[in-house]
């Protein structure tokens, strides 16, 4: 299965260097490739990326590799920012859903990371460096997600994208109302889309009351110890929802239909918080202007639909139409398998809707980075950003493109030649 790389044998060069790069504090230089920065520097032919301490230190045509740098020869290759999957369920241990309640804001994906999930490596082999690992769509308000960097071989805590904002999963429509699937046990409220809205509304009413309770306590906290009341009960569920109200937690809302998208926008605006992303959002093209006005992003599939009733009224032009209305659009996988070829998912946005190649590439790099609140750190090849980089054998939209190496924080975590020969 492992074809040797063609002439020039970049793979072999990477192989030799990988061990050194894994451990080194010394600089790394990726030399001679076509750099698709997805940033202000655009595309750079025969350029160099210099990495120091895991960060991008220099990018350009005339940049030279510093003395002592580990050199990765990318001649004839394409160098792009590491791909970011805004909707993943990779590396979750023992349950993607806590289905037993319609609101489970207290559960945290970060508690159940399986750092040995082989899909981490497989996704690295598809150029993916960051994934947004979400709770499932069982509940109107699900658990808190974890943004991970795919530092394959590191422990579970080391995978967590440090300083990534917290996030939470919402879900609308068939899944939370359980017409798409059933779970054994007592039939759970809600059973309709109206019910889903009511559940979310009630949860945030409770969260507001919780916040008021703590504010009232805080006002008395300065008084003498004897009169100081006992603090209110700490409620992990309401605490997470309070943090949503306070804008500290990004909301990623699974949805399909235009009506429920509008419902959630109205509800969020009523309570004074923002939806950060609508996920799947197959009818987003119908309400793209409203999504843009709210300031939400949209994370959709390229051309996957009709797998259930609420996913019928869909079009592969969805991403292009939403983008044309000013929505920050990403293309996601929701699948350990599809996650390995998100670059081709991005290519479809060029075919369907004529999105420019750069804008299409943004849909799997810079745009999902913004959606996760980490665009200051990743998503483009720019000086100062993390050295999360994928090296492709060809333009990532080419049908024969494949990933030769993937770096996270300047460390080679995937190397086709090295890893292939280790099989």
């Amino acid at each position: 299965m492992t074809r040797r790389p063609p002439a020039g044998s970049v793979g072999a060069a990477v192989l030799v260097l990988a061990a050194a790069v894994q451990a080194a504090e010394e600089p790394v230089a990726i030399v001679g490739g076509t750099i698709l920065t997805v940033g202000p520097q655009g595309t750079i032919e025969k350029g160099t990326v210099v990495i120091r301490d895991g960060k991008i230190a220099a990018v350009g045509k005339d940049v030279t590799a510093p003395a002592g740098a580990t050199v990765i020869d990318a001649g004839g290759r394409y160098v792009i920012p590491g791909i970011i999957d805004a909707h993943s369920h990779t590396a979750i241990e023992a349950g993607v859903n806590e289905c037993s309640d319609a609101v489970t804001a207290e559960v945290r994906i970060a508690d159940v990371i399986d750092h040995r999930d082989v899909n981490i490596h497989r996704e690295l082999a598809g150029g993916v460096t960051t994934v947004n690992v979400l709770h499932g769509s069982c509940n109107a308000i699900g658990g808190q997600n974890a943004v991970l960097k795919l530092r394959w071989g590191k422990g579970p805590d080391d995978l967590v994208f440090e300083q990534a904002p917290r996030g939470i999963k919402f879900a609308l429509g068939e899944n939370p109302k359980r017409s798409n699937f059933t779970v054994p046990g007592v039939r759970r409220y809600p059973a309709t889309r109206m019910g889903v809205e009511a559940v979310i509304r009630e949860a945030f009413e409770e969260a507001r009351a919780y916040e008021r309770e703590w504010d009232a306590y805080g006002a008395k906290a300065g008084s003498a110890a004897a009169e100081r009341p006992l603090p209110p009960r700490r409620n992990l569920r309401l605490e997470a929802l309070r943090d949503v109200l306070d804008g500290k937690v990004l909301v990623h809302a699974h949805c399909y239909r235009a009506d429920e998208i509008l419902m959630l926008i109205r509800l969020a605006e009523e309570f004074g918080f923002k939806i950060r992303t609508f996920q799947h959002v197959l009818e987003g093209y119908k309400v793209a202007a409203e999504i843009a006005r709210h300031g939400a992003g949209a994370s959709t599939f390229s051309d996957w639909w009709a797998y259930k009733l609420e996913a019928f009224d869909a079009t592969p032009y969805n991403a292009a139409i939403m983008a044309a209305h000013g929505v920050t659009v990403s293309l996601n996988s929701d699948s350990d398998e599809l996650a390995r070829r998100l670059y081709w998912e991005a290519a479809k946005a060029v075919k369907y809707g004529g999105v420019s190649e750069t804008e299409a590439l943004k849909m799997v790099t810079l745009n999902p980075a913004w959606q996760l609140g980490i665009d200051g750190r990743v998503g483009s090849i720019e000086v100062g950003k993390d050295a999360d980089i994928a090296i492709f054998s060809a333009h990532p939209f080419a049908p024969d493109a494949r990933v030769e190496a993937t770096l996270v924080d300047g460390v080679v975590y995937f190397d086709r030649a090295r890893d292939g020969s280790a099989r």
Binding site: A94, E98, V107, D114
Partner: protein
């Protein structure tokens, strides 16, 4: 059900009347090989037990006046084995109970209906008649907790002798237990839910403690806090006087247990842990009491597809190697049954997979006692410790070795007659 009292072993065949008499228990076993575990093994030595306590162990110890002297010729003495985590003494699960071994005894209490009840006491379900099989295999001490549930309650540490549950107790309650398990059809139904449930329970327990502390400090003019049995059950853990035993099957359950320990400043022990060897350096650094299961193929959820079957097979093989790898890494641990149908068969499997037999014996005696916090009173053959002693026909933990006598709290029990009785003790002792 008192099979152990009907002495038939040739070694002690002359003594039934005395033992049945139940006066002061004073025994001397002479001329036996004595594996003390805490010190050197005596090729020929004597062990004296008086009133439930080991009085003397040594080469030149002379049986005291009035002792019942038993010839240990051809026998090997070891400390009684400790099963540091399992269901010894709990009523058999319903399918087996329906098979009808209960006799005239009252029907076994059902499993606790509430799987989230830290106030449940395993002691209340303990039945002395259920410990015979374990004791006959050489186990004298067991930590007992229910297998089902997420918060199954509090375990009891018992010696496997005596006619009443209360008389068996070494430590009650011994520990509070959290199984990193999930429930069907109710919260928590996922591992992340179990984590969240445990954290919320601990935060609630902290608040309960503070509420009562405030009330006790100045009760006048305040409404008293409502009593809550579940929250009260956590208090010893919060106070640091009782460990939280976290049962987990996955490598990262060890990390999860430690994260709880750090967040709430509590002491944890880890039980089950078939992948513990992967985190040996963490266990080493933290000194976590470790109760390693030899139940290598526990019943598990139905698997889906070929990949899961393969994964399951690899997991079983890894679990079997786990004790040997932990030993190699220098991590002390207890070997525990974790409800295995045949505890010692599991131990022998671990030995077969590379765990030295002496290390296995240590993991079943002194290291188990350490993990359970009772090494000052049991776990080795030393003067002053509890007289839990097993006499084997050969090297302990070999398949050939038969248990000839079991002393629990200095009281002699003889295992049930085996199908093919050995013609003489010396023949039985030949390895």
């Amino acid at each position: 059900m008192r099979r152990g009292r009907a002495l038939s072993c040739l070694t002690v065949a002359i003594l039934p009347a005395l033992v049945e008499g139940g006066k002061e228990d004073l025994y001397a076993i002479t001329g036996a090989r004595v594996i003390t575990v805490s010190g050197p093994t005596l090729e020929v030595g004597t062990v004296v037990m008086r009133d439930g306590v080991i009085e003397a162990v040594g080469r030149d110890v002379r049986p005291p006046v009035g002792a019942r002297v038993l010839s240990g010729k051809g026998l090997t003495l070891s400390p009684g084995l400790i099963d540091g985590f399992g269901g010894v003494g709990l009523p058999a699960p319903p399918p087996r109970a329906a098979g009808g071994s209960g006799g005239a005894a009252p029907a076994p209490a059902p499993s606790p209906s509430n799987p989230l009840a830290p106030q449940t006491m395993a002691l209340e379900r303990l039945r002395p008649s259920e410990v015979v099989q374990a004791r006959d295999s050489g186990v004298t001490t067991a930590l007992v907790i229910d297998r089902e549930g997420v918060l199954p309650g509090q375990s009891v540490l018992v010696n496997l002798g005596g006619d009443e549950a209360e008389a068996m107790v070494l430590k009650q309650p011994a520990a509070l237990h959290l199984h990193m398990a999930t429930l069907r059809r109710q919260y928590p139904s996922s591992l992340m839910g179990t984590e969240a449930y445990a954290r919320q329970a601990l935060y609630d327990a902290v608040r309960y403690r503070d509420a009562w502390a405030a009330y006790e400090k100045s009760p006048r003019g305040r409404r008293r806090p409502a009593y809550d049995a579940a929250l009260a059950a956590w208090q010893a853990v919060l106070a640091g006087t009782q460990p939280l035993v976290v049962t987990g099957q996955r490598e990262n359950d060890v990390r999860r247990a430690l994260a709880l320990a750090d967040e709430f400043k509590i002491q944890v022990a880890v039980a089950g842990a078939p992948q513990a060897w992967r985190v040996a350096p963490i266990l080493q650094a933290r000194g976590v009491p470790l109760l390693v299961s030899v139940n290598f193929d526990p019943p598990r959820a139905a698997s889906f597809g070929a990949e899961d079957v393969e994964k399951e097979r690899r997991e079983i093989e890894e679990a079997e190697r786990n004790p040997a790898e932990l030993h190699k890494a220098g991590v002390p641990f207890a070997l525990v049954s974790a409800w295995a149908p045949d505890f010692l068969a599991g131990v022998r499997k671990a030995i077969e997979k590379g765990l030295p037999r002496e290390a296995a014996l240590r993991a079943l005696t002194l290291d188990a006692a350490r993990a359970l916090g009772v090494a000052d009173r049991t776990g080795s053959l030393e003067a002053g410790k509890i007289a839990n002693v097993v006499a084997w026909s050969g090297d302990p933990l070999t398949a050939e070795a038969e248990v000839k006598m079991v002393f629990v709290d200095g009281r002699l029990y003889e295992p049930e007659e085996r199908p093919e009785p050995s013609p003489s003790p010396s023949a039985g002792a030949t390895p």
